[in-house]
Every structure is written in C-alpha cells, then in structure tokens.
C-alpha cells in the first residue's frame, strides 16, 4: 500500500497494516506528530474515524452541510450537567484534519502565567517560555500565523471595540493561521477561499508526500501491548452500511501515538486497560463559553469580516477571556426567542445584530465515562467559583455593547426576550438556574494530564506513557490545566516537542 489518502469505507475484508509509527487521530496533535516523524524518515500510518473531505469541498458547503459531514454528532454533543451547571454543547471535528479544520484559526501561545504554573506548581520540565519558544516559532511558520488586520474586523467586532474603549479597555488583535483571508466569517465550516491553513492543508499533505498513509473511517478500539510495550492498535473499519463497524482493523507498529482528543483518548486507554488507578478521564476542562447578542439601530451584517479578529484579557483577573466571534445566521436564528410571528419578527433583524463571546478559564470539572455505545458520556460539574463567574461575564459583555449604543441585548438564557439596559439591571442573573443558560465549548482539554510523577500521571512532559513502552499520548488530553485561550497552537507546539523527542529516541 502506498502513501496517500485511503477510505476504509470502500475496503472489503479485514485490513492489516504495518508501520514504524501508527497515529490514532488526524487533528492538531496527530497530524503534527505524523508529519514530523514522516519527514524524519519513519513510515507512518494515520487513522481517522471520520471521513476525508477535501478542503475545497468543505469550503463550498453550506454551514449545515459542514456540520453534518465533519462535526462530531452533527454538533449535538452535550455534557451531562451535575449540580447547578449548564448543559454544555461541545463541538469537535470528526474528519481528516480533526477540529483544526473547523476552528476559527485562532492561535495563542500558552500564556506565560499558565506555563509558570506548570513548571513551578506541577513540576513539569521544559515548559518555560524560553524553552517552548522554538516549538512555537516552528509551528507558527508552518501554519502561517499572522495578526488579523484592523480592516478585516467585522462591524460587529468594531462595535464591541468601541464600547470597550468607552469603558476604558482596549481589544487586542488576534493571530490566526491564515493566508489571503477575505473576511467571509465562515472559518468554522470550511474556508471558501482555502485561506485557513488547518493541518489538513498545512501538515498532512507533507506527511503523505513522505509516504504516510492516511485512512479515514477507521475506528480504533484498543491499543495492543506485548511485554509491557505498545505494538499496534486494533479496531474496526466503518465499512458496513450506515457507517457501522464492519471488518477488523489491525495495525502493527513499533510505536503508537494516541491523538484522539480529550473526549476519546481516555476512552481508548481505558478500553485497553492502560492507566488504571491514574484517574484517566478525570479533570477535563472545557473553557465554558457564552455568547452575547446585541441589537443596534444601524445594519451590522456581522458575517462580513474575519470570524474572530479581536480579544481582551481585561477581565483575566476574574478568570474571563473575551473573544470576538460570529456564528451562521441560522444559528443566530435559533437564539432568537419566540415562535411564529414573534420569532420571524426577531429573525428579520438579524442583520442588525452584533455578537461577542467570553470563556471561563475553568477548573477541571469534567469526567469521561464509558457509554453504552462507542461514544463516551461526559459529565461536567462547574465549580462554585466558575459558576459565580457566569453572571459577571454576561454583565461585562452586555455593558460593553450598551456603551457602544446597543438598543437591546440577548443574554444567553433560554427563552429570555431581548432586554434594554434597565431590563438587564433588573435581571437577577445570580438566580438563573444552570439548566436555563446556553453554554458551548470548543476546547476540551485534559483527562490524561502529563506530570512528573510516574505514580500519578499517565504520561511525562513529552507525552510518553509512564507505564507502557513505546506508547505516546499527544493531544489536548495531556494539557494539565485549562489554558484560558484557544488551544490549537499550544497543542501543535506540544506535539512538535513530543515528535522531536520521539525522533531522537531510537525505536525499540
């Protein structure tokens, strides 16, 4: 079998492959490791559960088409809330390129304060800003990280910036992995102009050029071990009608890298009996996110411009990061309260809506459980501290929009009609039950946190499993704490670091 893209959907009979390295998952972590190792001369097989959709096709799709083909569970993934916690809608990619293909392209280095916590409190080696610098630079160059120019800001973001300035704080420009962006506000669904350099564009083709095989529709169920070391993976090809598991999959490899993300990596490890007694799947962080919509008298047309172009750390001391965004008009429509004439009357003014978002730098309240099918069940209990931050975040965003001249805001509370500034003041946000709050997450992290203590952590600071030889975990699941910022660049830099260590470590 030669390098290239293959679909297990069309394969008949069991599939058995051999390689130096098998990488489970083709997202930000997996694609980076696969490419770095392939370019060092190793033979690599990448296995992806989702389909392979060329970026050009993804870019031509309507948002709902992208969601049905490339997003896990059609974006219906929801955590089960524990205590007074909102149900959190978690969106992830299930496609060659993983969630990287579906991000807004936002790139942040790991904040210095977070790295200080990792090195000083958790005792991780090699995570000072100086030591991580070369990895950040390497990835930033590979994916063309650039600052979003002011003239690409949507009117929606400009209005929020005006409000922020009036309240005494400034928005900062974001950096993204783009080249030739025309500001279509569609990054999450595939760029119409191929301007977003996600890993399916910037990394995987390089790996394929070096002979890597990328297999779509492959469900990995277990890591195979022998004599205390990983020797491959096994699972099923999703080649039966309706995408059901069919023929057997077996990949023999001298090294196994699991990069299935914080949602699925813990599940694969548990099914394989790895990490017993190490709280695998616990301590998941999500960056619970909340949107604020505001109606202005002037037309806003927030879809015209970069989807995400500006952010603020003004409320960082409260554990809040404000971040610019916009969503498809259909999603905006869903947030418009009312039914029938009232709903369509509200929806008619969608072009007058501005939007901004905020995320909570959360404590790890999530747990990944084995579910009845092949998908995990994830519960999330928001800590008291994080729960108390929701009203503060809602007020901060609403106040900023009112300062910019908004007529009404639509807080993320199910069934709540638009309110003016007086109406917002009268709202007792602290008493709104968690189940009535709309909440979303795009950044599941943790569950297999790296650490220096072999008796407690699953992997070391290079992603190398403490207990099983030649097994590495390289994805968002090893990130030991919440980052407070979008994690794509952080995951890719950690993956580069791990890959370079692997490259320098002879295979068993």
């Amino acid at each position: 079998m030669t390098g290239g893209y293959h679909s297990a959907r069309d394969h008949r009979g069991d599939l058995e492959l051999s390689a130096d390295v098998v990488v489970v998952g083709s997202g930000a972590g997996g694609a980076t490791v696969a490419t770095e190792l392939a370019e060092s001369g190793l033979s690599v097989v990448v296995l992806e559960e989702g389909p392979n959709i060329p970026s050009e096709a993804l870019g031509r799709m309507r948002p709902s088409e992208s969601i049905r083909h490339a997003w896990r569970d059609g974006a219906f993934t929801v955590t089960i809330p524990r205590g007074d916690t909102p149900a959190i809608n978690v969106t992830m990619g299930r496609v060659v390129g993983g969630s990287s293909a579906l991000t807004g392209g936002v790139c942040f280095r790991i904040p210095d304060a977070v790295m200080r916590q990792w090195t000083d409190e958790l005792g991780l080696d090699g995570y000072t800003p100086r030591e991580m610098g070369p990895y950040f630079e390497h990835v930033e160059k590979a994916i063309h990280v650039e600052e979003v120019p002011l003239d690409l800001r949507s009117r929606s973001t400009q209005l929020f910036a005006e409000g922020a300035r009036k309240l005494g704080y400034e928005l900062k420009p974001m950096s993204r992995n783009t080249k030739g962006c025309r500001g279509c506000g569609q990054c999450n669904f595939g760029c119409p102009h191929g301007a977003k350099l996600s890993v399916d564009i910037s990394y995987l083709p390089r790996a394929v050029q070096k002979g890597t095989q990328v297999w779509s529709h492959c469900l990995v169920e277990r890591i195979e071990t022998k004599g205390g070391r990983a020797v491959g993976v096994s699972g099923r090809l999703l080649n039966r009608p309706a995408g059901a598991p069919g023929d057997r999959l077996r990949v023999h490899a001298r090294r196994v890298v699991v990069s299935s993300g914080a949602w699925h990596t813990p599940l694969i490890l548990r099914k394989s009996g790895i990490g017993r007694g190490k709280r695998v799947g616990h301590g998941l962080t999500l960056h619970p996110g909340f949107r604020m919509l505001a109606r202005f008298d002037e037309p806003v047309r927030g879809w015209r411009g970069a989807l995400q172009s500006a952010w603020s750390d003004h409320f960082e001391h409260e554990g809040l990061t404000l971040t610019g965004l916009f969503v498809p008009v259909g999603v905006l429509g869903a947030t418009m309260p009312g039914v029938g004439v009232e709903h369509t009357g509200n929806a008619k003014h969608i072009d007058h809506l501005a939007m901004f978002g905020g995320i909570i730098h959360d404590e790890g309240g999530g747990t990944v459980h084995r579910g009845p099918g092949r998908e995990p069940i994830v519960t999330y209990r928001m800590s008291r501290r994080d729960r108390a931050r929701i009203p503060a975040l809602i007020r901060a965003m609403a106040d900023t929009f009112f300062a910019a001249g908004a007529r009404q805001v639509f807080p993320p509370i199910l069934g709540l009609r638009g309110v003016d500034a007086d109406g917002l003041r009268k709202l007792d946000l602290e008493r709104v039950p968690g189940r009535r709050i709309e909440c979303a997450s795009q950044h599941p992290l943790g569950g297999c946190q790296m650490g220096p203590d072999a008796s407690r952590a699953l992997v070391d600071s290079n992603g190398k499993c403490w207990d099983v030889g030649e097994l590495y975990v390289v994805d968002g699941s090893i990130v030991p704490t919440s980052l407070g910022v979008n994690p794509q660049l952080s995951i890719m830099s950690i993956a580069t670091r791990a890959a370079w260590r692997m490259r320098d470590t002879p295979l068993t």
């Binding site: 031509r60 309507r62 049905r68 149900a87 039914v339 029938g340 369509t344 069934g415």
Partner: protein, 153 residues
C-alpha cells in the same frame, strides 16, 4: 457578490465522495412532526412558509441526520418527542403536537420555550433554524447575502 458567496445561497448539496451511505435520517413520523414544528416556528405575518420550502427543509434535515449519525438523531428525536407530547399538555391539550391547529401549536411551543423544558425546544429549534435560514428565500427574508468583506479582492 462574488461567485463563492453567491454559491452558498443555494438549496443544492455538495457531493462528498467519502460520505456515509445507507443511514436512515428520519422516520416518517419524525418527518411529520418536524414539518409541524417548522410550519409553526417559521410562520410570518404573511402566513406559514410555502409548502415546497418546508418539503426541502424536511428532506435536507433527513440528509443531515443520515450523515451526522445516530447520536445526533437520537438527541433530535428526544427533543421532538418532548415537543410532541409535553408541549400540548402544557396548554391542557392532548398530544400529538402535529394534530393541533397552528395557532394552538404556537401557544404550546411558546409556553414550553419559557419553561424549564426550554432546552428541548431550543434543540429542535437549533436544528431547524440552521437549515431553514440557508434557503435562499429565507436568507433574503432576514437580510443575509453571504457576502465577504473583501469580495473584490
């Protein structure tokens, strides 16, 4: 408006070679219930949406759940079931929702949206709105033109 932006305002679907084949999206009963909720939700001052637009919406949603998978379909089905059974009961009417008059359905959905079961209405509404407002006529109604900031670049 450039070609790319314009091409997004369409009812057509992009061909995906590696798509999942043979998965059922919605059962006939789900399709009926979906149509009833959509007709209620998207009624304007001029009346309900044209039948052909509702038919397109139901067909496209069927394809959506055929691709998105069993979990998505299960979640949507739960929301739809809650709306079908509980929304009428909330205004002291007998289910199913789809057999009620449109005005009665509107009251039932409104009541449920403001209740502690609002999440079920939101789930159904989200799936329907994402697709419905992609229809070129519905997009035009809300002023969406799919244009980019640098269309002339």
């Amino acid at each position: 408006m450039n070609d790319v932006a314009g091409s997004r305002l369409t009812t057509a679907r992009v061909e995906v070679d590696d798509r999942v084949v043979g998965r059922v999206g919605m059962t006939p009963r789900m399709r009926e219930a979906t149509r009833a909720v959509a007709e209620t939700l998207f009624t304007t001052e001029d009346g309900p949406p044209p039948p052909e637009r509702l038919a397109w919406l139901v067909d496209d949603l069927d394809d959506f759940f055929g691709q998105a998978g069993t979990r998505a379909r299960f979640a949507y089905r739960l929301c739809l079931l809650a709306v079908s059974v509980l929304a009428p009961l909330m205004i002291f009417r007998l289910p199913p929702f789809r057999r009620l008059a449109r005005e009665t359905r509107t009251r039932a959905l409104e009541r449920m949206e403001r209740s502690s079961l609002g999440l079920a209405v939101f789930g159904a509404k989200a799936a329907l709105c994402i697709l419905y407002y992609e229809h070129p006529d519905a997009a035009r109604f809300i002023g969406y033109d799919a244009s980019c900031l640098r269309d002339d670049a």
